[in-house]
Structures are given as structure tokens and as C-alpha cells.
Amino acid sequence: MTLDPVQLALTQNRLDYITRQMGEVMVRTARSPIFSQAHDFTCFVCGPDGWLVSQADGIPIHSGGGGFAVRAVLRDFADDIEPGDVFVLNDPWRAGGNHLPDWVVARPVFVDGRRVAFCCNRAHQSDIGGGAPGTYNPLAHDTWQEGVRLPALKLISRGETRRDLWRLLLANSRTPELQDGDLRAMVGATRIGAERVAEFAGEVSADQALALFDGILDHAERRMRAALAALPDGVYEGADHSDNDCFEPRDVAVRARLTIEGDGARVDLSESSPQIRGFKNSTWANTCSSVYTAFASFFEPDIPRNEGTFRAVEIIAPEGSIVNATEGAATTMCTVFVAHEIIHACWKALGAASPEQACAGWAKNVFGITTGRHGDGRRYVLYHGLAAAGAGAVEGRDGFNQIGHLCTLGGLVMPSLEVYEQLYPVRYRRCEFRRDGGGAGEWRGGTGVEYEIDVHTEGTWSFRGEGLRYRTGYGAAAGLDGEGGEMEVHPVGAPTFAAPKFGLRELGPARLVVSSPGGGGFGDPLDRDPEQVLRDVRDAMISTESAFDVYGVVLTPGGRTVDTDATLRRRAALRQNVTSSSKAP
């Protein structure tokens, strides 16, 4: 069937709008701040066979997972999918989940008795049981310690909610009221989406709707293939490492071997490390999402992000490895780490293929969570999210300072410390940019912050210091790496200690002192505009020493202007050193 190109454009625009509307409903009706404030969810529409057609509203690390979930429903329920049914699932091995806290709700859409689509969302739950409150158990070494596992379940059957099942789900949460409200919001959003998709399919006919969905996937595939075709054919490699398995030091590598052939790409992750004991093992859906995030963020942002886009990218991830753990492995942390390493490895390989588009590394975050009780016994949960890491630079832009997670591409909004001082028994002492934290480069890496806070009550501290004590924001195109993170805890009346990478501690009132890590620079620091270096010195973003030693910029006495002649000489000398001996710091 030949498609009317006008109808195709109208359809894509309309489906994107419908997924955004579903997102609005989620935000408006949910109870927990995870939806309404952190927007940790994605709404999407799949075709009747489970291929994801539109997800205009969503976070990057959910990019590729949706279709797996719906195809699991199709596999398990085959002929038993009726109008008015709604499914719920989370399990990575049984149901195409990415990690247990992200639940998917999927609702089939029927027109004239034919299934034409699924309207779905994937959203992070407040608590799903497991070994620690709040879905993240840093001590977990298998999946059963992380929460309740859901294969594809029929939650609503022909419009009738299965109350027994609903009660079972709530019984497995430490926060059943939030769970109840959020699940209702998810189900409600799919209902609005399904009404709108059915209305659309009714207008154009079911046959035409399916043909248009295919047309949308084909168009996206052509866009991605055009982007890939612009890269030179060849084999490119990229690797990123973690230095721990959550329990002890250990090299954990993600190695990507990227083959560009014509307008297609293959990402082979076979040389990556075996799976580990801790909860950073990636699932298949999460690995695909991570690779897709790397590709989608590397090219123009207006390339659609549906499963057509990623038909052009083949992924190989052997079972039993850190990028495709076997059933039963601990995985909750994987959407942050090892997603970060997978994105980095892919970015490096892509950067090797197209150096001018290369993205320098974003530093890995170091902040954890303090839970405790107010004077009146109310429980509080404090994320030290203000101690965020810096982003890597790209050609034409310095890295974002104090930006946050790579897996959301920095999309989560930073808290207000005035609000936090009202909500929590804490006082901030300092939160400002760290000098020389970002990697040097023609475009400087984003820096982290110097963060100091007094926590006035006793509490449980959960550490997630992946980015501590090694450099994680790699430099690109001769740019330098950003600094690693540091973190000390000063309990009142007890010895100071360096924070562990992962783990739980019970502490009395304490002061936390963090230097959050910096992102990598892009391009040779000797090519940075000297006026920009002057501004960085005046801003105390870099020291006079690094201006001289690394950037080769000499300032006039008083430090108010660039000494142009001396800078030219200094830069020539540094370039000479680089060619004759080893590289500057």
C-alpha cells in the first residue's frame, strides 16, 4: 500500500502528541514525587505486534525497552488479549523488563474488533519490597533481594480489575498508598491514550492505521540509516570501566566493537566483563536502551526515537556478561551504572568514527541517600542530588556543570537547597563549583561541586559512590579527563572516614563533605580561546597554574588581561614538548 505522505506526517505528529498527553495525565494524577517531580517515566505507543512506534514523552534510558515488554505480553497471552484488558509486568527475564522498579502497564487498543496498538507506560515505583526501602538495595547479590518479580500479568480483564492481584501488588510495597495512586495513574494514562489512538484509527480505518505505523517506523529507519551512512565504513572500538563490583575493587569493563557498513551499524559487546555479584548487572532491555541512548544523543536530536530507528543498529551482548546477566542476577542499579559505561563505550566508538562529533565523558555521580526520622518521628528520605557531577564537553560547548546522570542526559531537575532545608533536618554549608574539576580542553569539561552539609539526626546512609576516587569523565579529541570525586563523612564525636563506593552505614548526626567529579574536555586545551581561559581564571573555575601549565595562557600582572605574546610563546613551547616527549598532565 502506498502511503499518503501528508497522512504520514499527521499521524506521527498526532501519536507524539498522544504520548505527551499520556505523560500529562501521569504527572497530574500520580501521588508520588517520582512521577510528578522527577518525571521518571515514559509513555509509548506500540503497534499490534509490539513494535514501538512513538514515545515522544520519556527519559533517555527508557529508549529501547518498550517493545520487549509488549512482545512478552504477546508471547504469554497470545489469543487471550481482549478489549478492556490491561497488563502489568517488570521482570527482565520473563517479561522484557529493564529492572525491577520500572513497571510497565500495557493496554491493547481495538478498532472494529481488530487489535491495532498498545498504549503503555513504564514508570519507576516508590517501593517494590526487597532488601532495602526505596527499591535500591546496595547489598543485593541476587534479584530476589531486590523486590517483587512480575511476569506479564493481566491486571484488568475485560474492564474488571483483578482485585486479588491488585492487593498482592500493594502487599509487596512498603508504601502501598503511593503504589496504589501511581498504579491508578499509570492505568488511567493508558486509558486516555487508548481512547485517542482508537479515535485516530477509527478515522482512517484499522488497515490504514497499521500501514501508517509501518510508514512511521520506515521513515525513522531511513533517518538513522542516513546518519550512519555519513560515517566512514570501518571497525571502531570503545571501552569504559568500573573499578568495583559493589563489594570490592575489581576491573569491570564494557567493550564495544562498532562496525559501520554502509548504512548499518553493529555493536558487539562480546569482549565485556562477566557479570558481577553486585546490583549493576545489565539486562537485555537496559543494554539495548543504553546503546540506543548513545546513538540517539550522538546524532541530530530530531531523529525520531522508535524501534524503526534502531533496526539499523544490531546489538550483540553475550549471556552471562555484565551487559546481559543471566536470570537471577542483581540488576537494580543497571539503569544508572552500567548504563553509563555502555553509553560511554558506544560514544567512544562513534567518536572514533566521527571525531568532530565526539562527546567527552560525563562523570559518574557519587551521591547517595540519607534516611532518618524527624524529631516527631516522621521518616524522611534525602537524596544528596545537589552534589551532582559535571558533563563532558562537545565541539562548541563546554560541559554542563553540576548536571547529574548521563542515563537521563541530565534531564532531572536539581533540587532547591532552600526547599531541602525546610523539608529535612539539615543545614547546607557549601555548594559551589569545584575549581579545576572539569577536564581541560578547547571546550572545557563541566565541573562538579564542593558540597558540605550537616545532617542533624541519626540515620541510615546508603552510598552510591561509583564516581569516587577515579576519573570517569574521559576527554575527547585531545581533551583531558575530568577529576574524580572525593567524599568524606565526619560523624559528630566519631572518627572521620572516606565514603565507601557502595554500602549502608548507620550513623549519628554527621557532616558530609563531597567534591563531585568533573566531565571530560573536548579538543586540545592549547586551542582554547585565551579570552575564555582568562574568564575561567577570573571566575576561579580554573587556577592560574592550570592556565599556564595546561592551557598555555599567560596573564598580565594583576591577571586582568591576556599577555598575547607570552601566550603564543608558551603555547609553542608546550606543543614542542608534546611532540618531543610525553603529554602534559
Binding site: P5, P33, H219, R223, F433, A540
Partner: protein
Amino acid sequence: MTDSPALPAPPWRIAVDVGGTFTDMVLVDAGGRFHVFKTPSVPADPSRGVLDVLEHAARAFGADVGRLLSDCALFLHGSTVATNTVLEGRGARVGMLVTRGFRDFLEARRGFRANPFDHRPPYPPVLVPRYLRRPVGGRMDARGAEVEPLDEADLDAAIETFRAEGVESVAVCLLHSFENGAHERRCAEGLHARGGFEWVSLSHEVAPIIGEYERGSTTVVNAYVGPKVVRYLQALDERLRTLGLGPDLLVLQSNGRAISTRQVAHCPVNLVLSGPAGGVGALDYFAAATGFDDLITMEIGGTSCDVMLRAGGRVAVTDRLEVGGYDLVSASVDIHTVGAGGGTIAGADAAGLLFAGPRGAGAVPGPAAYGRGGEEPTVTDAQLVLGRLAPGPYAGGAVSLDLERARAALRTRVAEPLGIGVREAAIGVIRLVEQNLLQAVERISIERGRDPARFVLVAGGGAGPMHGAAVGRRLGARGVLVPRLAGVFCALGMLNADVGQDFTRVFIAPLDEDTMDEVRSVYAGLEGDARAWLREGGFETGAMRFEPEADLRYAGQQWDVRVTDAKADVGKLRAAFEREHDRLFGHVQPDSTVELTRLRVVGIGTLPPLVPARAEPGGPMPVPVSTREVYAFGPRGEPLGFAPTPVYRGADLLAGHRLDGPLLVEERTTTVVAGPGDRLEVLASGDLFIRFDHS
């Protein structure tokens, strides 16, 4: 100075709205009749544009500007000077004082970025470089109690830096100052007395809200635009006085209310939406003129469409906005803007998908049909190809439309890449744009809990009346109002504005009986502030009105809900809060604790409202001036085909006339499109109203 027979009966009121392209003036005379004038703006010297339009009007009346001004009882002004100062990066050199240890919240911006995937562009440049953000020791806690006294030595050091660096304007944003502004006031004293700084913006005065980033960013923008905006307004005020104007020059603020130039010096940041906020008065006027209370406006110009909503007698307001990438908290009318206008560019992407927007062709080169060098097809070009616009003079004769150029642009950029005909390409562009317009209107109605079936859609701007009927029909609106004065929408609205200002206090406390005494006393204090402010503006007690409002939330929620007409009464506040919460979020939580977060008194000095003129029905039935082939669309936007369509001249349509679509009405600066099945009637106000089968 001689009396001219053409001069209407004094006294009159004048509004001048300086926009990007045109300066609009509306004069309403003692008999309630409107006189409209338009001249090109002078971006380099906006006050020149004001005087130009006054001279143009005076000439038309056969009088001089002095005469026009001396019989003017009220002069209102809307200006883009604050916005342009930000957009063009031409503000003052600003220094900033912050609490020691917290220099960077302004630059970190809480990480706000519109689209995370679009990570390659940098943030807009920070308005105060880090080396001019100077730390001052001293600390308040979250309840506003002093933990550490202000460090005067730090203050002195900062003053010295600012002077050495040529700082002109200083923003002060200390932690928790909205709870206790003592340290900020001490800083201001030092900056004035020891530093000689004239321009000092204190965050607890400019934006008394919680959140260091939003409060600080607002204060910095205030400091940044202040010197330029205030000097411009004071100079204009003086100039107009010299020419004979008696009353204070009033400027429209973002909230749709006016303020005198004398009083605006403290809060110039409140002028960033000075022009578009004229829509508030315009909506109130249209409601009075037509009897339709609930209105949604869709004002479509060259590159964008502004959508605004009025329900239950109020125009929706917000206090969050963004200008040039800078986040602000400032009371303003809630305007949703999308990139869809007459100049919106269409094309096909690299993989063969039609797009329309968000990029626009601007005034230059403009649509391809203008023949000014534009190669890319626009919505206007598509309208021309479909016969909804006619070749030849357009926009009051400002340009001439060339059909062949429009066809050529659509052929090469859309039709050929997609393998379709030129006509199909034009149809596609219109359908895609109208789908975007529909979504924009749904966003501020359905998605905010408002049922569009209750609303009348107001189609304004040069391009609005071409899309109004199609969008209104698909929205299920009661009908579409096309005001005769749609082209000077905002200037008209200014004439119907009141003077007013918000007075707010952060007040975080549980909603219970124990807090009501304090609530009452805060309201009394805020009302006192508002009263003093209005008195200073020259208002008598009888012309003052005070509207108490409260912001509330369920304990633990991250954002709050505004309740108007607030009383210091637990039951009433809770009920009003839950009504709003249910509308916005679809549920209430009967057992949850409710908290107050902010108290507000809107102080209003009432000005006489515009009285709509009403014409007696009658006059001969209009005769079409021509009939031409115009492409028609069905109720869902589906393409139907070309059909012979009568074209009426706007001036021939008189109150009481009723006509069946399809038809076109050509006005001086716009064309009204009514489709098959639409019925157009002329209201007693003279405005056009389009009804649908369902309405």
C-alpha cells in the same frame, strides 16, 4: 492649536503598543468609538515609534500631538523594551551578592534544559559572571532566624570589586531572605551609602518566593533590565508631559495590569510580557461586548500563535515564565506559545517526511509569495495556493502576493521531494499546522481540566481568522469570535486594564484553626502595603479593590494550587483548594493534610472600563464582491476539494447579518475563512461570530 472638525469629543483615552514590527495605537473617544492607527516600529528608538504613531493619528484628525495629549485622560503603554533588552543581551553590567558558600546556583540553573536529547547547544550566557557574584558571610535558617550575622567586611570588599569592575546595577539574593530580608536590606544600605549604587534589586522584594535559583534569576533579570527600561520610560513620560500629557504615563505589566512609570522603577522585570498581557483587558472587553464569558484566544501572527484562556471571569495567570532561556517568577498572564503562524516554514526532511515549523521566515524574507527573496514555502504560500488568500495586495497593502512564487516554493521544497502535487502539498501544510494549533489550544484547556465545549474561541492576529473556524470546530468549541479589532488586540486590551500589583508573602504552615489568626494578620499587612501603594499611585479609597489569594498543597507535594477569593477560614480554603486540585489533577485526598505555602493580596486601582458600542441590527444584505475557487476542508480537517466560494468585504457586514459557509470575509489586514456547514453572523458589537452544527 485649532479645533478640527474630525477630532472626536474629548476626553479620550489612548493606548500605544510597541511591537516588534508595528506600533499600534487605539484611541477611544468619549462616545466609546474606537480609532485605530498603525505605524512601523523603530526598534533602535522605541519612543520614536510612540511619537510617530501619535503624529500619524494627529494628522489624521487634522490636529497636532499637543492637542491629542492635552485632552487625553489616560495614556497606556505596552512595550517590548524589557524583553528585547534580555533577548539582545544589552542590559546593565550586573554584580550579585550571594550567601557565602553558594555562588553558583544562578549558573547551575538547576540543570533546566528543554529537551535532554538536544545536548549540544550551550545554555544562554549567564547574566552575571562568576567573578561578579560575590559572597557575603551571614546566614538565616529555613525559618528566617539569624544563625550568623551579616559580615560587613565581605560587603565592603564586594562593593570595592563592583566599583572597580564598573558594575552599574546590583542584585542581592541571600538564602532564606523571603523569610527574613534583614540581611538583604543591610546590603542595600551599604550599596547605596558606601558604594553609591543607584540600582539595587533585593530578591525578597522583587520575587518573595522560596527557591534560591528562581528568586535569584528573577532578581538578576530585574537588575539587568532595570536601568535601560526605567530610563526609557521616564524619558518617554517626560517627553509626553512636555508635549501636553496631564496624567501619569501608565505601563502595562505582564499580569495585564498597569503601573505608573514612577512606581515601576522597583520591579521592571514585571514588564517582560508588557505587550501580550494586553490580552487580559481585551478578553474582558470581548466578554462584555459579546456576552460570552469563557473564552480562549488564539492570536496568530507571522511566526507564532499565542493561546490564552479566560474562565469564570478571570484570565488564567501563572507566575513562572521564561524569556530568552532565563527563568523568571513574576505574576503574568498564562500564555502558551507555539511556532505556528503565517510565516511558518514547511518542507520535507531528509527521509521524506513533511514538516511545518517551528522555524519561521520572519518579516524578511517572509513567505515566498512576498517576492522578497524567500525560497522556502510557508503557511501563507499554502493559503494562497488554496485560494484562501488572493494574489495581489495583502496585509493592508504592505506587500503583494505572487501566486507563482508560492507554487514554485511548494513544488521544489515539498511536492517534489514527497512525490505529490503542489495542491496536495499545500493541503498537507495547512492540515499539519491546524493540527498543531488544535493541540496548542487543547494544552491550555483539556489538559488543565477545562472542557472546550464551554468556550468560545477568539481568533485574532493577522492569520488567526483563517484557522479559527477549523480549529474551533475540531475542538468542539461553542463557536469562534473574530473581533473586528483583532489586529490591535493588545492595544485595545490596555484601554480596558486596571492598575494593580501583587503583594505576596511566603507562608508555610498547616491549614488549621491555629494558623488562622496569623493568616488574618498577614493578609492585613499585605493589604496595608497594597493600600499604601495604590494611594501613592493616586487612587482614592473608593477606587481600590483588594483580592486575597492563597497557594496551598497537600503536605509533601512539590507544587501548589492557587485559590482566588481566599478567606481566612479553614473550611472554605480547603474546599476551594480541593475544587481546584480536582480540576487540575483529577483527584482529591480527603484525609491528607493541607498546607498553606503563600499568601497574596492583589491590590487593584480601578479605571473606568471600556463600554462596548452596540449597533442596531439592519442594513441591506451584503452582496459578495466576488466568487473564487477556494479549497474546502471537512469537519475533521479532511480535504474536500475546490468549490466556488463567495467573498465578502468586511465593511459590508453589519450587525444582524447571517451568512452560510463556505465563504470568505476580507478585512483590511486579515481574511476570515468559514467552511462548509459553518454559519457566520454579525453580533450587535459588530464582531463576527461563527457557529457550527453542534453549537
